[in-house]
Amino acid sequence: MNEQKAELLSELQIDALTELVNIGVSRAAFSLREMVRAQVHLSVPSVQLVDRGRAIEILAQREISNLVAVHQVFEGDITGRALLIFPETKSLELVRAITGGDLPLEDIIELEQEALAETGNILLNSCLATIANMLHRSLKMSLPEVLRGDARTFFSLAPPPLAGDVVMFLYINFAVRERDISGYIAMIMDLPSLTALTHLLDEFIARTTGDLAP
């Protein structure tokens, strides 16, 4: 955590958040594994609190080509966006893997939008529901929306952010090696939600550690 916004969360709060994401994404990977019938490899998650400009830079450094994202808004005590992002070239491969690989290309292209939305829906819901349950809160999820563009498109969605707000940018890389599929899950929230999140994390830490909390 060398980012300038890091002081907004304590080291233990960042640790707790990273662990929540790790558990949430691991559950989501189990769902994806069922869908593609091949092992899904996950990276160690990274959580950074950055401004939007920096979040765009981080993603742009990793993936320069055209990207596809499945995007969902979550609302509740904390409000924000969750994105499943991968290179556009991999999206047909993902659909092929999920549909079983027997369909002709034209059918796959026709199915692409719907299959991406549904895959994103399952993965993001699985991840967010796990996190919400562990925080003892419920989150309302919007319908999935498929976006195409680059890091700037995804992190500049309307409504425009208030000046100086903070983006919680967490990413974890997932890969299905047999299928040459890989991508990221990212989450974005603003400063008021981040403040609410710190309280929820404190409660979570107290529940988890009991009398061992410092």
């Binding site: 080291e11 790790n22 691991s26 189990f30 899904v40 988890t208």
Partner: protein, 127 residues
């Protein structure tokens, strides 16, 4: 007889959660902690623990690689891999190493079931 449990996890919070679950059911046990595979292997060289609990998804070498190393050094030590990633391949690899698989978030019940089995194994191994 008190035993020593090694808890390996890159998350401090996860180590604290495991420690809490251990203390609830086995308050007389001691624990040692490591935040990565290298630290855990250094502790293994010192013979610092009797039972190991290893997180799967860690930076550097992952928990299955660490579990395999620990198994090679100590063929009969009770060992568990802990992860929310319960994909068949991960669970199967843990079993192949001879490690239990405990789902995250770790519950008092699942840890205590594992430790109970470990205790029986340790006690029956004594002369």
């Amino acid at each position: 007889m008190t035993y020593r449990l090694l808890i390996v996890d890159d998350s401090k919070l996860a180590r604290m959660a495991a420690a809490k679950a251990m203390r609830a059911r086995y308050p007389d046990w001691n624990r040692v902690e490591a935040s990565n595979a290298d630290e855990a292997l250094a502790l293994a060289n010192d013979g610092s623990f009797d039972v190991a609990l290893v997180d799967f998804n860690m930076p550097g070498r992952d928990g299955l690689q660490l579990a395999a190393d620990l198994r090679a050094r100590s063929p009969s030590m009770p060992l568990a891999v802990v992860s929310a990633n319960h994909q068949d391949e991960i669970v199967a690899r843990a079993k192949a190493i001879g490690a239990a698989f405990l789902p995250k978030p770790l519950t008092e019940q699942s840890l205590s079931d594992f430790l109970q089995g470990a205790l029986q194994q340790l006690q029956s191994a004594k002369p």
